[in-house]
Symmetry: C2
């Protein structure tokens, strides 16, 4: 079973609220995360909402990274969707964790676009002028892994 | 336990390949889905890749909707992330399912930003000049529900 993409869904709790309401800092953190993770940035768009909260997406050649912040709850939802072997989405995650100042978070990794391939790799991008005559058999299940990590277990238990 | 947002992750298989490689049609389908679903479109950005494949995101005031298409596999990954009570993300899903011509799909619904609130609703947006003195207690689990739907069971079983 081979997947076209990997997606990490992250719940960043106990973040630095001043960062979460600062569009410029969020945008920089997101774009820098992509660059550090060796993603190819295609475009990015970020918006600040009233009274506060930032939403933004970086479209990368390898899919996208999205964020929504709720400064009033110290919370940010982050999705990191990548394809190909050149990017490790956890590099992006690590950068954002530090920049958002999150002292507690949970995450889930999913495989997207699962196909039966009889053991062969499924290319996420095929070459020009080539085509695939037979579509590999898709599967109906999401392949997920739940993780939970604590920067500060004492805080969690307090 | 109350959530700030809902997210539907969809695997659209057996789509119309000519639609999946048409940036204009994908962009129209995505924006129309948001309008039909009564979301407030903030901005949208779509890109076509070589040799084919479209990636795009619609940022809505209520979060975002993203798509990545692989025409060579007849497959599209769609994420519908909404907050608030005015939008039913399944309305967006239904529109996209038809427009992409998907005869088979699977999906997963998650709750994002879960907080313990002692039974009270957690507002996804608080009013100007108000603040929350005590942050509700977050939870560490994603709340997920897996669904599988078949337009054409015979095709699946073939």
């Amino acid at each position: 079973m081979e997947a076209l993409g990997r997606q990490i869904l992250v719940e960043f709790y106990n973040c630095d609220k001043s960062v979460l309401q600062n569009k410029k800092e969020i945008e920089e953190a997101m774009v820098d995360a992509c660059i550090i993770g060796k993603a190819t940035v295609v475009t990015h768009t970020f918006h600040e909402f009233s009274p506060f909260g930032v939403s933004g997406v970086v479209v990368i050649a390898e899919s996208h990274v999205a964020i929504h912040t709720w400064p009033e709850y110290g919370y940010a939802a982050v999705d990191i969707f990548t394809c190909g072997d050149t990017i490790n989405p956890w590099d992006l995650f690590n950068h954002l964790k530090v920049k958002l100042g999150s002292s507690h978070f949970s995450n889930m990794e999913l495989k997207r676009g699962l196909f039966e391939t009889n053991g062969e790799r499924i290319p996420h991008k095929i070459e020009d002028d080539k085509n695939i005559s037979t579509t590999p058999t898709h599967t109906d299940t999401f392949n997920t892994a739940l993780h939970e990590d604590d920067c500060d277990l004492e805080e969690k238990l307090a």
